[in-house]
């Protein structure tokens, strides 16, 4: 069963959560800022307008009193003291008088003019040469004057500008804060996920003792519980399989012992047997030997799987060990030992190293035309053993499969008929793995034959 997961095209969860929080921060703060700005602007403008209107009333009254006393409109207008930023325009008996060049009849908006002419005081905001102005229009019926006072409105604009800037800043800050909270939250959210991921990796690497600690959060706890249950089930299943292999091998032992001994008795009387039966007997004996080898290796493998035997590290001189193990065969290949390693023992599990070397040499003899060279080097904190053979080499596609149990390479058709247990290289891989090393097969630089490489951790004695 495969879970229907979306393709991994989307960005990581943490990235998405962070962006979501930042966006939320941005939207919320923008809305709040807009509302705040609108209300403040409305309020400030209204307040400023009414205060300026009151100012205009005061100014108009001063002018009216002045003109009523002197009868001179132009003089009154010129002498009147007003706030710096205001200009007065008035229409008096069909002519227009003003206090500044910038503000004259043309600048007074038509709507305002009509309203004042009809005897209504009014005010209106207008842009003059790009600057904001407030025009307040007042009829002075006692003198027949339409009085307009224009106030520069930019002071408020500056205030509003500062308000806008600070609100914008706040929005930006809220966005950044949102993002930061997002990072923090996503980290918190991702931590259990990361823990599950790390635990899964450990399980995949073969550590079936891995369990996750219970969580207080209900959803997380469900994840943790089901994960632990899965690992339990996996472990039980592996145990069951391993036990089955082990039990089968054990059950095979007794009948195999009797059969092997019986065949041995027959072999001792080989000369008394007719020619035709002799062929059958030889076949029987050699196949029983192979069967015994398979059972032995299966048991050794299941022991390695079950992790029954502990590592027994002891100082071993690699060159000597290799020569000794090779000595049990017929060939005498070149053994090169890195001068840095010669005479200096390394801590390894000797029994396992022996098994590894013996099986590699056996493999070279069975499938590779014999061992041609063995080299030992030190490399990056590892001891590296290279075993070269003179065989047809191992094809690219077989290189990883060759260490599988009962692997039969594509090239095995050309090879000698199966003579070993079919488990030799699997055992090599197991014994190397248990010692924390690696094994692989590659093409030697000479492109002749195959090169099996074993890397073991370098532990100086």
């Amino acid at each position: 069963m495969k879970l229907n997961l979306r393709p991994a095209r989307t960005r990581s969860l943490r990235f998405r959560v962070t962006v979501a929080f930042a966006l939320a921060g941005l939207v919320l703060s923008t809305v709040v800022a807009l509302l705040a700005y609108t209300f403040s602007e409305h309020y400030l403008v209204r307040q400023r307008e009414s205060s300026l209107q009151r100012q205009a009333y005061v100014d108009a009254r001063v002018l009216r009193d002045d003109v009523q006393r002197t009868g001179d409109v132009a003089g009154g207008l010129a002498s009147a003291e007003r706030s710096v930023d205001s200009s007065v325009v008035l229409s008096y008996r069909g002519s227009w008088l003003g206090t500044s060049v910038a503000i004259g009849r043309d600048q007074v908006p038509d709507g305002l003019r009509r309203q004042v002419q009809s005897g209504q005081p009014a005010r209106q905001r207008v842009q003059v040469n790009g600057d904001p102005w407030l025009f307040v229009g007042l009829p002075i019926p006692a003198l027949g004057i339409d009085y307009y006072e224009a106030f520069k409105f930019d002071e408020l604009e500056r205030t509003l500008g500062v308000l806008r800037a600070s609100l914008l800043g706040s929005a930006a800050l809220a966005t950044v804060l949102g993002g930061l909270i997002g990072i923090w939250a996503s980290r918190r959210l991702a931590r259990p996920v990361a823990q599950v991921a790390a635990a899964s990796e450990r399980v995949a690497a073969g550590d079936l003792e891995t369990r996750l600690a219970p969580q207080s959060d209900r959803d997380l706890d469900r994840l943790v519980t089901s994960f632990n249950r899965m690992v339990d089930a996996l472990g039980q299943r592996i145990d069951r399989d391993a036990r089955f292999v082990s039990d089968v091998s054990h059950e095979l032992r007794s009948p195999l012992t009797a059969v092997a001994a019986a065949a041995e008795v027959l072999r001792g009387r080989r000369d008394e047997i007719p020619e035709r039966s002799r062929v059958a007997l030889d076949l029987l004996v050699s196949e029983i030997d192979r069967l015994r080898l398979i059972v032995e290796d299966l048991l050794e493998l299941s022991r390695a799987d079950a992790g029954v035997d502990e590592l027994e590290l002891e100082p071993v001189e690699f060159g000597e060990q290799i020569r000794q193990t090779l000595g049990r065969g017929d060939e005498s290949p070149e053994v090169r030992v890195d001068p840095a390693l010669a005479g200096s023992p390394v801590l390894v599990d000797k029994r396992r190293l022996d098994r590894v070397l013996l099986n590699l040499f056996e493999n070279a003899r069975a499938h590779g035309g014999g061992v041609t060279a063995v080299a030992v080097r030190r490399r990056n904190g590892h001891v590296r053993i290279e075993v070269d053979d003179a065989g047809p080499g191992v094809s690219e596609s077989d290189r990883s499969r060759i260490f599988d149990r009962f692997a039969r390479g594509a090239a095995s058709g050309q090879r000698r008929p199966a003579s070993g247990s079919g488990l030799g290289l699997a055992l090599v891989a197991e014994h190397v793995r248990i010692q924390g090393g690696r094994v692989w097969v590659e093409e030697p630089p000479s492109h002749q034959g195959a090169r099996f490489v074993v890397e073991l951790p370098w532990r100086p004695a």
Binding site: H250, S254, A261, E264, V265, G268, E312, E314
Partner: protein
């Protein structure tokens, strides 16, 4: 003493001359029968016993040069049989085991077995183990540089007489223990690795089980050391092997 490699004809000659007697204790009659045939072909005089009880009875009636004991016996176990035999005799014992669990092998060795073979064994392997044990049980001719006696502390070893004394009193050791002690004494002060001891005492050229050495050393210590947990003569050299110190 020489044994022919194989062959019924050669075996007949040996049996006439001086057959080595073996008691094979095995409850599975198919294995027992074939095992007897194989060993007889190798020139041994084989008696059978289907249970530990029967084996003890037979053993009381006559002596044997070697006993083969299957660990998984109905009734009295192979371990108990080993212990019973050891109480009365230093006869070499080879245990035959279907299990290779550390526990079984160590328990068998602690019970007094000298060596073990695993099922399914090859006939050649079994007879090789038996020969190695028998060779060891009898004086070796090729021993050179062997002193008349070794002394360390209050222990005295007399190789030719096959006697070990502590405080002047004779200590009962099995033949394998004796060989091991002699080998260590011959190299007093020199560290011998487990592999070296396996080769020299048990005749394994390779893949001997180091637990053989460890078990026998442990047993020897209980016999020659005052305090076996704090040995003063038979020392363990961590990661290297064992050494006998005067």
């Amino acid at each position: 003493m020489l044994y022919p490699a194989t062959g019924a004809a050669a075996a007949a000659v040996i049996m006439e001359a001086m057959a080595v007697s073996i008691l094979a204790v095995e409850d599975d009659d198919r294995i027992r029968t074939t095992m007897r045939m194989v060993l007889e072909d190798e020139g041994f005089d084989v008696s059978e016993a289907a249970s530990a009880e029967a084996a003890l009875e037979t053993f009381e009636a006559r002596t044997f040069d070697l006993v083969l004991v299957d660990i998984m016996l109905p009734g009295m176990s192979g371990f108990d049989l080993c212990r019973s035999l050891r109480r009365a005799s230093d006869v070499p014992i080879v245990m035959v085991t279907a299990r290779v669990d550390s526990h079984d092998v160590v328990a068998g060795l602690e019970a007094g077995a000298d060596d073990y073979v695993r099922k399914p064994f090859a006939a050649k392997e079994l007879s090789a183990r038996i020969r190695a044990l028998l060779r060891r049980a009898s004086p070796r001719e090729d021993d050179t540089g062997r002193a008349a006696a070794y002394r360390f502390g209050d222990v005295e070893v007399l190789p030719d007489a096959g006697v070990v004394r502590r405080d002047g009193r004779e200590v009962a050791v099995t033949k394998t223990e004796f060989r091991l002690l002699c080998e260590l004494a011959r190299n007093t002060g020199i560290v011998l690795s487990r592999d070296q001891l396996l080769e020299r005492v048990w005749g394994y050229d390779y893949f001997g089980d180091r637990r053989l050495v460890d078990s026998h050393v442990r047993r020897l210590r209980t016999k020659i050391e005052k305090d076996p947990s704090e040995p003063r003569h038979l020392l363990t050299m961590r990661g290297l092997g064992y050494k006998l110190q005067p």
